[in-house]
Symmetry: C2
Subunit: 115 residues, 2 copies
């Protein structure tokens, strides 16, 4: 897929996944992959920097934990993160509507007069 499309939606997707319960980077990428039927695959080079951005923006908070013999950095949403996710979802809806507005409504191809 065209990665430029994904640009801008990555953070929303990640926040969404995290909103379902405390999770960590590797699992987030797996979840996004699975739930999009393999259409998206967050690469590590975008995944981890994005998590760091979100944390810097105080939308998520992290904590290291040893689980199943694995050292993982778990993330969960802050209250600001919950609001941000909601805002991003609304923005996504508006964006998708905007696209439909341009693509959608009829406008049968015009007969083009020559100059």
């Amino acid at each position: 897929m065209d990665s430029r499309l994904l640009s801008g939606a990555v953070e929303m997707l990640m926040l969404e996944v995290i909103s379902h319960g405390r999770t960590y980077g590797y699992e987030i990428s797996q979840t996004v992959d699975t739930r999009s039927n393999g259409y998206f695959s967050l690469k590590e080079g975008s995944l981890y920097p994005a998590l760091h951005r979100l944390e810097q923006q105080k939308l998520v908070k992290s904590s290291w934990h040893e689980v199943e013999g694995r050292r993982r950095k778990y993330y969960e949403l802050t209250s600001a993160g919950i609001k941000a996710l909601d805002a991003k979802k609304q923005e996504w809806q508006a964006f998708a509507s905007g696209i439909q507005g341009v693509l959608g409504d009829g406008h049968s191809a015009t007969v083009i007069p020559a100059f």
Copy 2:
């Protein structure tokens, strides 16, 4: 709006507008603006370079014309452009579905056990 979202859909939108009939840069931006109810605004700094990219990729062809006392660079789709628009639309659908797949289906918030 988040310009990152738009990035990646810009070329599709422009091809779409051009597909309705020969047009030029300034008008394209107005059309996109109008038909998205003012939601999108293609900045000149992205509009013109995008047109040049499309032309370089042979998806559109241009010609200068003097109309209404205005010197304008008119664009129209090539046959490759028509195909590309179709492909981009399909990709958009797949992308939007992917997003819905991640956002959509229930997944009631889990009760998070403490560590």
